[in-house]
């Protein structure tokens, strides 16, 4: 990622360039085929990453790929970390389980991507979103317990109060759990956590360590 050597500053509404020359990144918007800044921050122009290795030999007819344009973004990163991020569909989030019911687990989203959220957003993991297989046999209390830290993916903005989350992937699930005795446990299989002191194991939807 080559960043232009002289990042300049932008204020909301500042003209950044024509939309034919740049791709809009975060912190920008398009108005009448021109790119404008929508945030107060520093302008970064990221050149598109060149495809690694030698170009592939063309052996079939392909649609003309539009030439990659440099992406222009305006961000306050490095200047101020105050900017609040919002969970979006597709983001991986870290959350804490607040309460469980037979149909769903209610969680508080703490971290979205790499940013720690200032406000607390509520999320919901429904029983059919806990894992990808044997969905009808999922029991929420055998997958999560209140207090667990869960890595999940946002699948929908949800209703007025909750984001809908899913753990239906190997690398998603409980990443930190405490036993009923109050000890931090370690994962032993894809569905079990073990207490090192008492030796009892508890069922969880365990995230695959990476």
């Amino acid at each position: 990622m080559a960043t232009s050597s002289s990042p300049s500053i932008a204020i909301p509404g500042q003209l950044l360039g024509p939309a034919s020359k740049y791709q809009p990144g975060p912190g920008t918007h398009i108005h009448e085929s021109n790119l404008y800044s929508s945030l107060l921050g520093v302008v970064h122009i990221n050149q598109p990453a060149k495809a690694p290795g030698p170009a592939k030999r063309l052996n079939k007819i392909l649609p003309v790929v539009p030439t990659e344009l440099p992406t222009i973004t305006v961000s306050r990163s490095g200047v101020s970390e105050k900017r609040e991020a919002l969970p979006e569909v597709g983001n991986t989030v870290l959350c804490r389980v607040i309460r469980i019911t037979p149909r769903q687990a209610v969680v508080a989203i703490l971290v979205c991507g790499d940013t720690v959220l200032e406000a607390e957003w509520q999320g919901l993991i429904r029983s059919q979103d806990v894992r990808a297989t044997e969905k009808d046999k999922v029991k929420v209390y055998e997958s999560f317990r209140p207090g667990d830290i869960v890595r999940a993916e946002v699948i929908s903005l949800g209703d007025q109060a909750n984001y809908y989350l899913s753990t239906a992937r190997n690398e998603l699930g409980v990443i930190m759990a405490t036993s009923e005795a109050g000890n931090t446990m370690y994962p032993v299989s894809w569905k079990e956590y073990k207490d090192p002191e008492t030796g009892f194991s508890e069922p969880r939807k365990v995230a695959k360590p990476n």
Binding site: G13, H29, H31, S38, G41, V42, L86, E118, Q122, A161
Partner: protein, 296 residues
Amino acid sequence: MADRRRINGPVGTTVAPIFEDDVAQESKEAPKSTRSRAPNAIRKMYLKTGVTPSASGSAYLEIETSAKGPVSGLKLTCTVHGPRSLPKSTPFSPHMILSAHVKYAPFATQQRRGYIRDQTERDLGTQLETALRGAIIADRWPKSGVDIIISIIEGDQDRATSKSQGDETWDMMNALSGCVTVASAALADAGIDCVDTVAAGVAALVQDGSADSSPTIVVDPIPSEHEKVLGACCIAYLPTRDEITNLWFKGNLPASEMDLYNQLVDRGIEASRSANQVLVECLGETIGGAASGQVS
């Protein structure tokens, strides 16, 4: 024997306090202040962002006073809280919900204000919300709410004069223009997506001297500097888009003179452009100062 369980009043007689201003007012007909600025010049203002560390974004605005006597400039602070999650009772919203509150401090004006927002303050809040809604890109922040809170620490102008003129609307217009400008700076500081920096300005049709002299249009009017304010308009304006987000017109103008209306709006835009220059410079300082501080 005095009752020791109660808090007794003073034994002697008391006199209601007489303030110097009240005395001055009675012996008034003192030399009236007159406008010394050019008709198209706004008063000097001071704008600074990031004054409240606990808020997501904040700004402070001060407008100097050019009039003499018991007159003060405008001082206001704005804090922006959020974006944060909406309360559970609110229905699903695909965009950001904006709420603006404007409150005069109880000591802001010569006439004491209550602690609860009154009708004029609510009105200012509604107009501010309209002015800002046109500038922010609300659909980038689904399911979230932003609170914009403005406290007017020192109200504009000479309250006594405007009261004697029977209308405090002119003061409210000046206050609104300040509110819009300061809120715009605070929104940018909070990192909320905006299409442009919105700033507001006031233009007024005023009559100086005798009643049969021809009225003139001035920007950023101070009612106490003029014999009579015939009409005024407060405009919130996006300079790069060339769009008006809020227009507030008040006064008694002959309906036949469409030209006059257009001129007033044009001058209002002119005033908001001047205010926007200050805003742009302030935002440049915010980011420039922070960036250089980061490097060193």
